[in-house]
């Protein structure tokens, strides 16, 4: 059992026993290698079902939307930034939350690992630096750094930005990270090449909406793709409708996305829709000096007007 897991159980048990909160939201061990299941605990004696390892990539802020209880939630750097978003956007109140900050060194990418070994993966265990993958025929030791989710490899906010207590001392933040090398490459492409890239990117989409539903930002009561009066988008497999969904969804996330990677992680067909959201993130940073979810005291970039706006037309 990891040190984090042990501490989590203690903290959850304490918070439930002394009635600081009504429920604790965390993860329980999954039934599949490299999978844990988001869960809630309401009784102190059930706190022992909580676990933590590098398979907790689902963003728990997503489970806070419009809840009414007093809740303790475990929050990695990205989760904490989405909790900030949620508070700023009134999806939950700050005083409803007891945030337990989880300094994070990244989550592992199961799709990447599946691609690195032959045969079905039966068990995956980890240490701080390594990941051991067992198949029926072999055991493979991998460097954890090599198998991180891409958003984790590029992460510059590993420590929670808001918390009521911390699970452990902060971890060292990654520096000298070039977050946008691939985005710049696309920016430099010609129209046709760009179009081809988007076509190929979205071709496997089955419109299950796992990306949207895993995203803490996507809490609209009725998503525009589900509207019927008027119906903005067709519901079939027409590539135009599929692209419309992905492009518009990305725009809805502009200035709000924390690049938590939940969308890409949830996608059953392996689409990297973060290429779209990171372009918008880059634009927000370059044009407004804005990074989402860092402070409770500021509104998202596209949600405010400032007299020093760099765009001439607005003055």
């Amino acid at each position: 059992m990891s040190e984090y897991t042990e501490k989590m159980r203690q903290i959850a048990g304490r918070l439930l026993k002394d009635c600081t909160v009504e429920m604790v939201i965390g993860f329980r061990k999954g039934t599949m290698p490299m999978m844990n299941e988001p869960c809630f605990v309401t009784a102190p004696e059930d706190a022992d079902s909580l676990v933590w390892d590098s398979n907790c990539g689902i963003n728990l802020a997503n489970y806070l939307t419009n809840r009414k209880e007093k809740i303790a939630v475990f929050a990695k750097g990205c989760d904490s930034r989405n909790i900030v978003n949620h508070i700023v956007e009134n999806k939950i109140q700050r005083d409803q939350l007891h945030i337990i900050g989880v300094p994070c060194t990244g989550m592992i990418d199961k799709r990447k690992i599946h691609g690195m070994v032959d045969g079905e993966i039966l068990e995956v265990t980890e240490t701080e630096e390594t990941v051991k993958v067992r198949t029926a025929d072999a055991e493979t030791l991998l460097d954890k750094k090599e198998v991180l989710q891409n958003n984790c490899a590029l992460c510059i906010h590993r420590n929670p930005v808001i918390s009521d207590e911390m699970l452990a001392d902060p971890v060292e933040e990654q520096t000298d990270i070039d977050r946008y090398a691939d985005v710049r490459k696309i920016e430099e492409m010609g129209d046709e090449e760009k179009w081809q890239l988007f076509e190929d990117l979205l071709a496997p989409c089955i419109r299950c909406y796992a990306c949207r539903n895993a995203c803490p930002l996507c809490y609209c009561p009725t998503c525009f793709v589900d509207e019927s009066k008027p119906q903005w988008v067709g519901k079939g497999q027409d590539p135009i409708d599929i692209r419309t969904f992905h492009f518009l969804r990305a725009y809805h996330c502009a200035g709000r996305c924390t690049d938590c990677g939940a969308c890409q992680r949830a996608c059953p067909v392996g689409i990297d829709m973060r290429l779209l959201t990171r372009k918008l993130e880059k634009d927000c940073q370059e044009q407004f000096g804005w990074e989402a979810g860092l402070s409770l005291d500021s509104r998202p970039a596209l949600d405010v007007y400032q007299t020093n706006d760099p765009e001439a037309f607005i003055k």
């Binding site: 039934t31 299950c208 895993a214």
Partner: protein
């Protein structure tokens, strides 16, 4: 029933010959996963696979299918007349379908080929299709077919069941449709003496299935008590209400009808739908009888493991292919839910029916 031996050296030749009379479909590798696709002439299916990411149900029940076309151009004599869209229902064959996916087609058939209601689109496609199954000798740890009314050598829904013998395939011809395909492919080397080898391989393959579920109590459990069980909130908590489980499931059959108009011409489409989506049940009044996530998740499992069981008395609406287990982004596991449902005792039931 005839047993045929097909020399692998003649495999491509046989399929190429069959392709004169059938449009062939089969698993092909696409990036990191296999998918069932139409095969070009001379292309052979890649049978060295684990279960495909999506089931081949879309070959008969496409995710989006135009069923009706119409014109809104009033200068045309036939404007506003609904016309059946032209379709190709010429003979087709799915080569390399797994027994679980073939059995799933039979479960879906209960819905589209009911005594009182027939879906002409599904039925015509079904009747045009010959199912050439490939027995499964290398199951995944998430496969639980043997306890879900199926098995790695299950023949239900197949016209031919093949097994791999290394140098050759052994093919069990099960129906007239299967015989017609074997004739078209020129497969005629009868080997009745291989029956024992087939049985032995079946036993060995079944022994490799390590995952099981218990369903013995589902029939006798009171439906409303189960509906009101206290575990549904816990089961549903992690659910994102995405459609991954239902879209990857070979037995999920729900669809939505949509009219799409472009300029002055329109089509009516049949699109996959999912009980996980909130709008699946929204009434025109705006009322939604399944407004909460828990209600929707409960519906999915109750349909598969209780309503279907009670209605058709042919077991559960699941063939144990394990796709939903492997692909659920938050690891909701039907095996775990089935265990909760099967071991449920009404004393545990919550008084409120929710």
């Amino acid at each position: 029933m005839t047993l045929l031996t097909i020399d692998k050296q003649n495999w491509t030749k046989g399929l190429t010959a069959a392709a004169d009379q059938y449009q062939l479909f089969g698993p092909v590798k696409d990036k990191d996963q296999h998918q069932f696709k139409a095969l070009t002439k001379g292309q052979v299916p890649d049978l060295d696979l684990v279960n495909t990411r999506l089931s081949p149900k879309d070959l008969i029940f496409p995710q989006s299918e135009t069923i009706i076309e119409y014109s809104l151009d009033e200068s045309q004599a036939d404007h506003h007349i609904m016309k059946e869209a032209a379709k190709d229902y010429s003979p087709r064959a799915v080569v390399g379908i797994r027994p679980c996916d073939a059995k799933a087609v039979q479960l879906v058939k209960l819905n589209f080929d009911a005594p009182d209601v027939k879906d002409p689109y599904w039925l015509q496609a079904y009747e045009a299709t010959t199912f050439i199954g490939m027995a499964c000798d290398a199951p995944l740890s998430t496969c639980f077919c043997t306890s879900a009314g199926c098995g790695p050598y299950n023949a239900e829904g197949l016209d031919i069941l093949m097994m791999d013998q290394g140098e050759n395939y052994l093919a069990k011809v099960l129906t007239d449709k299967g015989q017609a395909f074997a004739d078209a492919a020129g497969w005629n080397q009868a080997t009745p003496e291989a029956a024992d080898a087939f049985m032995a391989a079946k036993d060995a393959a079944e022994a490799k299935i390590v995952s099981t579920i218990s369903t013995d109590n589902l029939v006798d459990t009171d439906l409303l008590e189960l509906h009101g069980a206290s575990f549904w909130d816990d089961v549903a908590f992690a659910c994102l209400n995405c459609g991954t489980c239902t879209f990857s499931c070979p037995t999920c059959w729900c669809f939505d009808l949509q009219d799409e108009v472009h300029g002055k011409s329109g089509v009516r489409m049949k699109n996959w739908d999912s009980c996980m989506f909130p709008i699946f049940t929204v009434h025109t009044t705006g009322h939604n009888p399944r407004e909460t996530k828990t209600q929707r998740v409960r519906q999915r499992f109750m349909h598969k493991l209780k309503y279907f069981v009670d209605k058709y008395q042919t077991g559960i609406m699941c063939v144990g292919c394990g796709r939903c287990v492997r692909q659920c982004p938050v690891n909701i596991d039907i095996r775990r839910v089935c265990a909760l449902m099967n071991s449920f005792k009404p004393a545990d039931a919550c008084a409120a029916q929710g």
